[in-house]
């Protein structure tokens, strides 16, 4: 790892440390992992702030991911412009949110964003149907899906407006005692 200094400048590293919940070592580890995603695209020298994006096609085609119903959604949420192409910053952000240090509200916010398929800042029945359909891999009929969604909405909809606002979502998710323990990854 002698090239640590050459990848980032000291200021860059400090900035990353400030913006994420990671130590310098973890940032380097994540960078190499990011670089591994697309070795031919990502330069080993980041001091000049290259504008590099790993295209979604690359991420989505990882064999481990091919069965994951949410791969696209995750990439979309964490990529800047919502197209699923991820820069290094996005990549770090993603793990920062997932890290143990991230506060619960932040986690809840991103979880909410992941659910909010149509980006209208509230989870509506359609969003939920997307989620349920993906989770069940299309094994439920449309009627069943809508029934389930109705029930879900019914359970969590605090203000009875037929959709889950961020507050509704936080309320519900934070009430679940193990949310904190489930929504994290130890890098």
């Amino acid at each position: 790892m002698g090239n640590k200094q050459t990848v980032f400048t000291r200021e860059q590293l400090e900035a990353y440390q400030d913006c994420t919940f990671f130590t310098r070592k973890e940032i380097m580890r994540l960078f190499y992992r990011y670089q591994d995603l697309a070795p031919q695209l990502v330069p080993l020298d980041y001091t000049s702030y290259p504008d590099v994006k790993v295209p979604y096609e690359l991420i989505g085609s990882m064999p481990e991911l091919k069965d994951n119903p949410f791969r696209q959604r995750i990439a979309q949420v964490f990529s800047e412009d919502g197209d699923g192409h991820m820069t290094l910053d996005n990549f770090l952000d993603m793990f920062s949110v997932m890290s143990e240090m991230a506060p619960r509200d932040l986690k809840a916010y991103y979880a909410f964003k992941i659910y909010d398929f149509n980006n209208d800042d509230s989870i509506c029945a359609w969003d939920l149907e997307q989620t349920v359909t993906r989770l069940t891999r299309g094994e439920l009929s449309a009627e069943e899906v809508s029934l389930v969604c109705e029930k879900v909405l019914d359970e969590a909809d605090g203000d009875h407006d037929g959709r889950l606002s961020l507050e509704d979502f936080q309320n519900m998710i934070l009430r679940a005692p193990d949310f904190l323990s489930t929504f994290h990854i130890r890098i």
């Binding site: 994540l30 997932m98 989620t131 069940t136 359970e155």
Partner: protein
């Protein structure tokens, strides 16, 4: 008490007989029988099973007696009481028989008593929690047990070297290590018995309990290794033997797990093919699990681990494969067996302790052991937790550690193991036995008694029982996927990665292989949860008095095919609304209780005449809804229900609907009823208005929340209404007048939309009709409230309601679902037909009507009650009138009221 005393006395007697029989019995068979004996005493032939049965009976009766007093059981764990009872019983046996009998035999214990407990705990183990904490559990189970065994053994040996243990205890280092190995293991039976009553949070429980299950392998290995070392003599032990000892740890634990998984696989596979012989499904579960236990025992692997894994592994598939009834059977049998075994174990432990011939006391050894096991347990927990917390996201805090240290109970396993020692090889066996008994008693009684106050005092996080929500299920799954995805992206093969892999493997291969195809298809977890939630709602609903619905709700789980989905969904819809309301409004409950009483009274009044026809009809009605296989149960339930219950359910449902939901829940008054009401009203002096209303079409839909404020106004008007119609919602007077006309026009022609009428149920009450104008309103607004896409759902729900319980009129829109006959009768446009019916329907017994009226009036004082009461009275009336007119309708009316 008498009954408990009988076996107590009987047993010793029987025992003396058994003991004395050699003298008596041999003589009897020896002599040629003098002809045909009228009566023969054949105690010997039944002795063994008879004694077993008697002991279990004693234990069960003791349990009953303990639980007679809530105070005692809330303070003293049952295991303590049982041990004490055992001591007393043992004393009696000893006194009567002059020798100790009925002790805890290691063979019996390991072969018969232990397996049910372990199977029960394995089968019902929360698998996710278990695997989430597997690392910690394994650490405590393996490292902790090893640590405890060696430190305790070594410390005792040190104690002996110092001279604090009397020299008559002839034991070397190996003997003490052997003793340490058997005394160090936390006992699953004791832990379960005590912790189940303490209700600490799940994580803490699963760690302590998981440890107690998994340390079996370590205990078995240590015990065997030490035992064989002792038998070989320390001089003959070679280095390879130590290595073998370590290797055997893996063989025993992993081998046990493998045996368990193999049998779990077999079990799941077998249950896949039991479609036609449902009756043996529960048997298979027990047989194969027991076979796993015996197989592991036979191969001297860890039988406890085998059964635990078998239970853990097979549950998912078995539950999916076997029928609902079998599931219940398995659950209850398992709980019964485990509870029996546990009871007997503790009781026999108490009895065994009485036998002084087996033990020899040495204060130094006993005290030393007690102090050491407590101390080293605490030390071990602290050290291990410190290490574990470096890796845990949610660290175990100090309080958790205290509970974990203090929860290290020893129990019957240690006792059975110490009894198994060979006195010739281990000369200090008697001392060890005494020490073990003291340790077991101390931990179970003293620690068991104090752990509850301790937990309270330390404010340990208790387990919270929050209802499982669909949201939780959904998010859990989603998060799993998300986390797995993120781990994949980062190339980090962590816990989520492996779980994801496993789930995919399970979904692709295992589930398809091991689950019935039908079960596999339905068995999507989310849908499953949805299903369960609905059933739970239904049950709670029933508990609150919705008895009519209960039958359908209960049958839901037994409908395996997807065909039923449409129907179930409808009922679900209904139930959801009803139940949701119930949950939200606690206030209602209190109000209701008072009403219930009134209802009950009313009911009794009404019951006599009306009962039979209703019954008949109900059964027929329910047939439509309930699938064939559920028929028996349905019939039973339906028939068992009496009027009173129905009324109650009526009330509760109405209340729920009214208060809870913003959504319009319709309560349509049956057209017939209305007409009938109108007629009655006219007789009562009702204004002509009502008549006109009836003619056009009376579809009354109830609206809730919006009009609730105006209830007071409407209530008055409503009182005048007819009896038969049930109005859930309250309408303002303005709405009444205007809405009436428009509502009638709109609503009647379009059956699919349920016109919500803001009418108060009170209006419909017949007795009230005389007071003022009737208020039957169909508000166009209410119809609007129902979203277009929901309308079909509404119709379905309505139809289901009808069929289930709703009054015919209300369900009119949904008629299509019903069989042809009922449909015709129930049609929304029924008003036309009404005129003929009403006469019949409205013939109430005058006395009854009066009674209801007076009651309602009296209660009317309180505004809140007014609403409710009218509903009730209304129900009663509805029941009466429809019945007279048309038996079938009567049934429906009743049901509708409940809805």
């Amino acid at each position: 008490m008498l009954r408990t005393a009988l076996p107590l006395l009987g047993l010793p007697l029987a025992e003396t007989e058994a003991a004395g029989e050699p003298t008596k019995e041999p003589g009897a068979p020896g002599e040629p029988p003098p002809g045909l004996a009228l009566f023969r005493w054949q105690w010997h032939e039944v002795e063994a099973p008879y004694l077993v049965a008697l002991w279990i009976l004693v234990a069960s009766l003791a349990k009953i007696v303990f639980h007679l007093s809530r105070k005692v059981t809330s303070l003293v764990p049952e295991s303590c009481l049982l041990i004490l009872l055992g001591l007393v019983l043992g004393g009696i046996v000893l006194a009567v028989a002059k020798k100790a009998e009925y002790q805890l035999e290691p063979g019996t214990f390991f072969l018969f008593l232990l397996p049910p407990i372990v199977l029960d705990s394995g089968y019902f183990m929360p698998s996710r929690l278990f695997f989430d904490n597997l690392g910690a559990i394994l650490t405590y189970a393996v490292v902790g047990t090893l640590w405890n065994a060696f430190t305790t053994g070594a410390a005792l040996w040190g104690l002996q070297q110092v001279g604090l243990v009397a020299p008559r205890v002839q034991a070397g280092l190996l003997d003490f290590l052997l003793f340490g190995s058997l005394i160090s293991a936390v006992d699953p039976v004791a832990v379960l018995a005590v912790f189940e009553e303490v209700h600490v949070n799940e994580t803490l429980f699963i760690i302590v309990f998981g440890e107690s299950l998994l340390n079996d392998a370590v205990t078995v290995v240590l015990y065997k290794v030490c035992n064989s070392f002792v038998e070989m003599g320390s001089a003959n032990v070679q280095a390879t033997d130590y290595l073998k000892g370590i290797a055997s740890l893996f063989v025993v634990s992993l081998g046990g797990a493998a045996v368990g998984l193999v049998f779990a696989f077999l079990l799941a596979l077998t249950t896949r093919f039991t479609k036609r012989v449902r009756i043996i499904e529960p048997l298979l579960v027990f047989l194969l699990a027991y076979a796993a236990y015996l197989t592991a025992e036979m191969a001297s692997l860890s039988a406890i681990i085998a059964v635990t894994m078998c239970g853990l592994g097979c549950k998912k598939y078995v539950e999916a494969n076997i029928s609902h009834k079998s599931r219940t059977a398995v659950k209850y049998t398992m709980k019964t067996l485990a509870s029996c075994a546990e009871t007997v174990i503790f009781m026999l432990l108490g009895i065994s302790a009485v036998d002084s011939s087996k033990w020899a006391w040495d204060s130094g050894l006993v005290l030393g052991t007690l102090i050491f096991i407590l101390f080293f347990r605490a030390l071990g927990v602290v050290l291990q937790t410190w290490v574990l917390n470096q890796f845990r996201l949610v660290p175990l805090d100090k309080i958790d550690q205290v509970v974990m240290s203090y929860g290290g109970l020893r129990g019957a396993v240690a006792f059975a193991l110490v009894i198994l020692l060979d006195r010739t090889k281990v000369p200090a066996k008697d001392y060890f036995v005494a020490t073990t008994i003291v340790v077991v008693f101390f931990t179970v009684i003293i620690q068991g008694l104090t752990i509850k106050p301790l937990v309270k005092w330390l404010k340990v996080k208790r387990s919270e029982h929050h209802k499982p929500t669909l949201n939780q299920e959904l998010h859990e799954h989603t998060f799993d996927h998300i986390l797995a995805a993120v781990e994949d992206v980062v190339g980090h093969h962590g816990y989520h990665y492996w779980r994801d892999r496993w789930e995919q493997f399970d979904k692709k291969y295992l589930s398809q292989l091991l689950m019935r195809r039908s079960a596999y298809r339905i068995r999507d977890q989310i849908w499953d949860v949805y299903y369960r939630l609905n059933i739970r709602d239904a049950i709670s609903f029933v508990d609150q008095g919705g008895h009519v619905l209960s039958s359908t709700g209960l049958t839901l789980p037994s409908m395996p095919s997807r065909n039923s989905v449409a129907e179930t969904s409808v009922t679900n819809l209904l139930r959801e609304s009803g139940s949701g309301a119930c949950l939200d409004l606690q206030v209602i409950d209190t109000v209701r209780s008072g009403r219930d009483r009134e209802d009950a009274v009313m009911h009794h009044l009404l019951c006599g005449g009306l009962y039979k026809p209703r019954r008949r009809y109900k059964a027929s009605c329910s047939r439509h809804f309930i699938s064939e296989d559920a028929q028996e149960r349905q019939d039973k339930e339906v028939f068992q229900q009496n009027m009173k219950r129905r009324l109650e359910s009526f009330k509760s449902t109405k209340h729920n609907i009214c208060f809870t939901k913003n959504k319009p829940r319709l309560r349509k008054p049956g057209h017939k009823k209305k007409d009938g009401v109108a007629n009655t009203e006219t007789t009562n002096g009702k204004p002509p208005r009502d008549l006109g209303f009836q003619d056009t079409a009376a579809v009354i839909v109830t609206l809730e929340s919006e009009e609730e404020e105006e209830e007071s106004d409407s209530s008055e008007t409503e009182k005048e209404d007819d009896e038969g119609i049930i109005f859930v919602a309250r309408a303002t007077s303005e709405v009444l007048q205007e809405g009436k006309v428009s509502g009638n026009l709109e609503v009647c022609p379009s059956p699919r939309v349920i016109p919500p009428s803001p009418t108060c149920a009170e209006k419909q009450l017949p007795w009230k009709s005389g007071q003022g104008d009737l208020a039957v309103y169909v508000s166009s607004e209410t119809t609007k409230i129902v979203p277009v896409d929901m309308q079909t759902g509404w119709n379905q729900s309505i139809s289901s309601l009808e069929s289930l319980a709703s009054p015919p009129c209300t369900q009119a829109p949904t008629m299509t679902h019903l069989p042809p006959r009922p449909l015709a009768a129930e049609e929304p446009q029924a008003p036309l037909a009404l005129p003929s019916d009403p006469l019949l329907s409205f013939a109430f017994p005058p006395s009854l009507a009066k009674a209801g009226r007076s009651r309602s009036e009296s209660s009317a004082d309180i505004p809140q009650q007014q609403e409710l009461q009218p509903l009730m009275g209304q129900k009663d009336h509805t029941h009466l009138s429809p019945r007279a007119a048309n038996p079938r309708w009567c049934i429906q009316f009743n049901k509708g009221g409940q809805l």
